[in-house]
Amino acid sequence: MNQHTVKMRELARELLSSGQVSLVLGWEKGNLWYKSPPVFISRVEDVEKLIFDEFCHNNLAKYLMDLVHHSGKIAVFVKGCDSRAINRLLQDNQIKREKLYIIGVPCPGLKDPDDAVGKKQGAEVKNSAKCATCSYPNPVVYDALLWETVPVNTTKAPVEELIAKLDSMTPDERYAYWTEQFSRCIRCFACRNVCPACNCRECCFDQAEPDWLGKANNLSENQFMQMTRAMHVAGRCIECGECERVCPMNIPLMAINKKVARDIAELFGECAAGLDLEKRPPLGHFDLNDPEKFM
Amino acid sequence: MSVSTADIKRINPLIPIRGKITKIVQETPDVKTFHVTTLDGQKPFIPLPGQLAMFSIPQVGEAMFSITSQGPHHLEMSIKEVGQLTRFLHEVEEGQECGIRGPYGNGFPIDYCKGKDLLFIGGGIGLAPVRSLINYCVENRKDFGKLTVVYGARSYADLVFKEDLFENWPKMENMEVFVTIDRPEEGWNGHVGFVPAYVEELNFSPMVTITCGPPIMIKFVLQSLAKMGFNDKDVITTLEMRMKCGIGKCGRCNIGSCYVCLDGPVFTLEQLKLLPPEY
């Protein structure tokens, strides 16, 4: 067992047995060695299920919205990206800080489970694409930090190359590229449902009256859905890359989200979402110095 | 549970036939009864009492309704204004064309009811499905014993089928009608109170009972009937679920392994007790 896992269990056991928290959100191991799905622990004897390894992809902050009526405090393990989601949800008044015990786990970067499919446990597995672009592997908000912070990776990542390639295209070429991508969407909503920025109580895509989004699967509805989502999470996306990881159709969703984040940074200055609880998202408030070129 | 559907083969069961709304009757402020025929003035199909129809205005929507009555050339559906389609329906005029397909569901167990005294208990719009059986009994009067109707609504204005309640049915031989409204109001000399309490007050001896109404009414009616010693297999009710296909394929109206559109909507209390307690 790795030292990280030992530390997680120790703290979880202490928090649960002392009654400081009544629930712990972490990761566990299932039947597949390259997946570490979420686990909900409320009994001390179950802390042995907790693990930390290179496949702890799920952003557990998403579940805090399901648990707003949970009585008692909740301990939640957060990597750097996950911790930004916590700040975002706090800013949107979706969760209450005093109900949380946040345990920061500095993240060394995770492995790509798709690359592990068919391989024996312990085999060489590619790094996860979403972690290659990560600038904030260390938690930005926590009550306890479980181990030493990790250095920030500064190498150029594949998604940056894709954005550069898309930027160099003519509008028609770019439209053709995204048309091809969105034509594959099966509208399972895994991207939306895993996304911590998608925190509306009722999503406009689910509304029956008016039915903004038609149920037919065709390019026009798919584009409408994906572009609406990209615009809606603009400035609030914490770039955890979960949408792209869970897409069963391999649509490069982070290329849109990163591109939009970069455009916003160019317009409004550096403003990575969820870093600073006091700093409102640029599209969520008005400032007299905001650029007005579009007006 | 066995599938009681007749082996109905149609060219394409999901495509409606064209129909026309020939008459609209305002029953209450938010309930209207629609008379529907085919374009050439015929009855679209011949339903059994308690069966359902998929009724549509193609450009607005399609939904399942109980067929409350039928004439030689038309079907009748009483529809309360609750959503998009029903809101549209409440604004159309006579002559509006529509789509209709069916009949769906099992219908009431007529053979089982034959020769017996029957008690009908309805609340609000819930009298609509029950009325199809009452009308059948009235039309085939000699096949059934005594008919008793207990019906209630929030107010006098909310009582549906007033002509039947106050004119047609009370005149029938060996038939009694008891009507109640929730709260007293000026000009109302009849009974005041909720349906379940009224049923207990009337203190019936156990007999075959058909009941339909809002879930909360059904819940208390069932309690009242149990108190009076009614038998679960003689208590018959209808269920409601969201439906899309009507032919047991699209999946959403299941309660346990039953599909309400195919195996229902009519169930005895005995059958319901074997199904999961919730959906």
Partner: protein
């Protein structure tokens, strides 16, 4: 056994494509599904497709009829559907079993679904034996034989450098005879199947679930579910659909499209009441349907062990682990 070397498979498919619409499994970074054969395609003989083949008979969106509105008049007209004879090549035992499930749903119990039947009736099924189960496969646990698909017109075996074809129905016989010149008769023994990583003991599960509607297991099982539709849309047996319409000015059409019991609006009635208000009721219905209700109604499980849901669930929901939990639950 009639065999053809793998390098000549394209030739066979190309010849067949002159008489049939031929659907084959392909796999690239962007697509993993059955698509109409065309010259230059590489058929994927390794592992199954991400998307199941159900859309061949039951497309994600299917137009049903069109209508024209003029004042209070509404004209309704069917779409003329021109269905070609088709061959599905390379379908696995699990997906063959799913077709059996779909046949039961769409073709039995009083009504035949015309849209499904017109396509199904014109289809020949050429199954491909599985010798290397994927990490998430568990069809064997459900009583399927990965080497022999039930219901296939032809069973194909991987013989290493070649593929062996054995007809299982008169229609399959006829198909092989038609292209006899492309095959070589060789004495060959099909490869055996390697071991399965996942197992599930399903004996007694439906009977046990009959007593578990109110069991606390559903609180636990549903907790991590995100309520998305990845499992249902990738499942070869999930068949729930919605009927909706598209209206532009005075005309439009009705279509049906895949729906998913995990979505909140699935059972929401006009007026707002929802009998399955939270993910607990929805998750329960999903697993009850697969492992109990379907068995009670049609005599078999609504799961074929293909493992697609396990492979793609965003939060690692694992139906084999859930079956294990049900087995161990105290009732």
């Amino acid at each position: 056994m009639k065999t053809i070397v793998k390098s000549r498979l394209a030739e066979l498919l190309q010849t067949m494509a002159q008489d049939f619409r031929v659907l084959v499994p392909v796999k690239s970074e962007t697509v993993s599904q059955f698509v109409p054969w065309q010259e230059g395609l590489t058929v994927n003989l390794e592992g199954n497709t991400v998307l199941p083949p159900k859309d061949i008979f039951f497309p994600q969106t299917e137009k049903m009829y069109k209508f024209k509105v003029k004042g209070s008049s509404v004209d309704i007209e069917e779409f003329a559907e021109d269905v070609q004879k088709q061959v599905i090549f390379g379908i696995r035992s699990c997906d063959m079993q799913s077709i059996d499930c779909l046949d039961k749903v769409f073709l039995t119990k009083g009504y035949e679904d015309t849209f499904y039947k017109t396509k199904r009736d014109k289809t020949l099924l050429v199954a491909l034996a599985c010798t290397k189960p994927q990490d998430t496969c568990f069809c064997e646990s459900l009583g399927l034989n990965p080497l022999e698909a039930s219901g296939a017109d032809i069973q194909v075996y991987d013989l290493g450098d070649a593929l062996g074809f054995v007809a299982k129905t008169p229609e399959g016989e006829e198909l092989l005879a038609k292209y006899a010149s492309l095959f070589t008769e060789v004495n060959a023994v099909p490869q055996k199947v390697e071991g399965f990583n996942l197992k599930a003991e399903v004996a007694g599960i439906p009977e046990k679930l009959a007593k578990m509607f109110d069991h606390p297991i559903w609180d636990e099982v549903s907790q991590k579910c995100l309520g998305c539709g990845a499992c249902a849309y990738l499942c070869p047996t999930c068949h729930c659909f919605d009927i909706s319409g598209n209206v532009k000015a005075d005309q439009g059409y009705k279509f049906r499209c895949w729906d998913c019991c995990m979505f909140s609006e699935y059972t929401r009635m006009a007026g707002g009441h929802n009998p399955r208000p939270s993910k607990k009721e929805r998750v329960r219905n999903r697993f009850m349907h697969k492992l109990y209700y379907f068995q009670e109604r049609y005599g078999q499980l609504l799961c074929t062990g293909c493992g697609r849901c396990i492979a793609k669930c965003p939060v690692g929901m694992d139906i084999t682990a859930i079956i294990e939990k049900i087995k161990e639950a105290e009732v």
